[in-house]
């Protein structure tokens, strides 16, 4: 075969790959939206699900559960995550302890969600007696998301030009003042992107919550009450009830949330890049 005809076949292969990827994505999104949106209305959003075997009701408690979990998880996650990112980017030298921390972060990032779930189940649910609760779920998620936030923070901080640090130090600012007032503000867009990435993961995550949150359909009135997120709710609807229409409705809501989160992430990083360039 002549190079020219190979080139032609290759083009089909390459564009075919792209087309399939887009088709898969559009297929899933359109299917879920078309099947799901008819059941999404105001009532669906604000009524609590009946729970148990019944697929009746809406998604209000699952929405609250998701928000609750989001708030608690981020509140616990931010300091250790950003702190560790700062350490790795600003303080760590290339020595054994640093390599151990890095290895831990890399490994933790790959550990399957269900293994975190097992851990949370054994430690938080059973040993610490937090039972199946929002708190157990949140603490498990913190462990799961730590590597994500650490990596994005570290990358964002490393992207801050050295000259900023030097200028600050040369003016008599201490190392911490430099980090706090020069490096962190400059790295903020990257860090915020990382945090939103984590928020997205919290919304998506199911496996580790399945074994730590209990899945109660009731309104979570305290940290130590069980609850469900939208994703978990979708799982229960799909598996335990025959309410596929409601499951699709929940799926549609989830997909819209994820699309918004992705759009906000892109917008934020663009805007801050523009600001860094001095717009």
């Amino acid at each position: 075969m002549s190079p020219k005809s190979v080139q032609k076949i290759a083009k089909v292969f390459i564009w075919g790959g792209g087309a399939i990827t887009v088709a898969v994505l559009l297929g899933i999104i359109l299917y879920v939206l078309i099947q799901g949106l008819p059941s999404v209305n105001m009532e669906f959003l604000i009524t609590p699900p009946k729970g148990g075997l019944s697929g009746e009701g809406g998604i209000s408690t699952a929405t609250v559960g998701t928000l609750y979990l989001l708030g608690i998880t981020l509140a616990i996650l931010l300091i250790p995550g950003i702190g560790a990112g700062i350490y790795l980017a600003e303080y760590a030298r290339d020595n054994r302890p640093t390599r151990m921390v890095r290895y831990a972060v890399e490994t933790l990032a790959g550990v399957p969600s269900i293994v975190f779930g097992l851990f949370g189940f054994a430690l938080f649910v059973t040993a610490l007696h937090f039972n199946f609760s929002i708190l157990s779920g949140a603490l498990t998620l913190v462990c799961l998301l730590l590597p994500t936030l650490i990596r994005t923070t570290e990358e964002a901080i490393r992207a801050v030009p050295r000259s900023y640090r030097e200028a600050s130090l040369a003016m008599g600012a201490s190392k911490w003042q430099t980090i706090r007032h020069v490096v962190l503000p400059a790295a903020m867009p990257g860090i915020v992107t990382g945090i939103i990435l984590c928020a997205g993961r919290i919304v998506e995550e199911t496996a580790c919550l399945y074994v730590t949150m209990g899945g109660s359909a009731a309104m979570p009135t305290s940290l130590l009450k069980g609850g469900r997120t939208l994703s978990l709710h979708l799982y229960y609807l799909a598996m335990d009830t025959n309410a596929f229409d409601k499951a699709m409705g929940t799926g549609a809501v989830l997909i819209i949330i994820i699309i918004i989160i992705n759009a906000v992430t892109n917008l934020l990083s663009q805007r801050f890049q523009a600001k860094m360039r001095g717009g």
């Binding site: 390459i14 250790p80 399957p112």
Partner: protein, 289 residues
């Protein structure tokens, strides 16, 4: 001591403690799952646990070979489709597509990562399972699970492969083109080989994601603890083994599920080490060049 020195020192210790957190968590996960899983391993014996083909907790039979095989089969099954599609898409993004196409395709790939796995599971249950049933069997099958996984691992393979294709020095590409190679010859004979390590790392990380996936799997695979005999056969993954049974298990059964977690953990450890190694080698190769 001036106050800023105190603040500096405190800050340093605080972030150091933060950094050690992940190490502590990793250790805790390993120790906890190990400790909970140890009684089962003692009782069953490592050999019977790893190579036993019967999983019947009621009969005190705890062989996880069917689940290990199940995990491997769905992973390989998804790779068969995801590698060529992903690689093609990565080449498209890195080399062929115009800026405008890229601007549409990239967010699409990112979005694919963001879709919750239960949504993949739901779509799989309602679209793919009935479709597979038309071919034969119950529809809940290794094939259905592989198809669902393909969509889930695509973005991992695409984004890491694209990065490493981009990292190939311009000089290589220009040299090839200047010698009269077609664009495809340049891509296939110069760029892809140069980015080989990175592409490998993307594939290995994609495999990690496939092996770790839980909820979507239990929704479409049937969860039968048998060694699958055909793509249409039901099966169960290691992750599914834990998720399906952990809620009701007690005693040795529960412990055996934690041991399953340990095995999963070790598999991921190996895969990650391979991926890290591949990525580092890829970086080094470009530095030497």
């Amino acid at each position: 001591m001036p106050s800023h020195v105190v603040v500096d020192r405190t800050a340093k210790h605080v972030v150091l403690i933060c950094a050690s957190a992940s190490f502590v968590i990793l250790g805790a996960i390993f120790i906890f799952t190990m400790r909970e899983g140890a009684p089962a391993l003692q009782e069953i014996g490592l050999y019977n646990f790893l190579l036993g083909t019967e999983w019947r907790p009621g009969q005190e039979m705890f062989g996880i070979l069917p689940m290990t095989v199940g995990s491997i089969l769905v992973t390989l099954g998804s790779m068969v489709l995801a590698i060529p599609i992903g690689l093609a898409c990565a080449i498209l993004l890195a080399e062929v597509a115009s800026f405008r196409v890229r601007r549409l395709l990239r967010p699409a790939v990112e979005l694919l990562v963001g879709i919750p796995s239960v949504v993949y599971g739901l779509v799989g249950m309602l679209l793919i399972v009935p479709a597979v049933r038309e071919i034969g069997g119950s529809g809940f099958s290794i094939l259905a699970a592989s198809l669902v996984l393909t969509a889930m691992v695509l973005p991992t393979i695409i984004s890491i492969s694209e990065d490493s294709l981009r990292a190939v020095p311009k000089g290589y590409k220009e040299a090839a083109l200047a010698m009269g190679a077609t664009q495809w010859q340049m891509i296939w004979h110069v760029q892809v080989p140069a980015a080989r390590s990175g592409i490998m790392a993307g594939i290995v990380l994609g495999m990690g994601r496939a092996i770790g996936e839980t909820m979507a799997m239990i929704m479409v695979i049937g969860n039968s603890p048998i060694i699958p005999t055909s793509p249409l056969s039901q099966g169960r993954t290691l992750t599914g083994n834990i998720a399906v049974e952990i809620m009701y298990a007690s005693g040795i059964h529960r412990s055996a599920l934690f041991s399953t977690g340990v095995i999963l953990f070790l598999i991921i450890l190996v895969l990650n080490t391979v991926a890290t190694f591949a990525l580092r080698r890829g970086l080094k190769a470009h530095h030497v060049a």
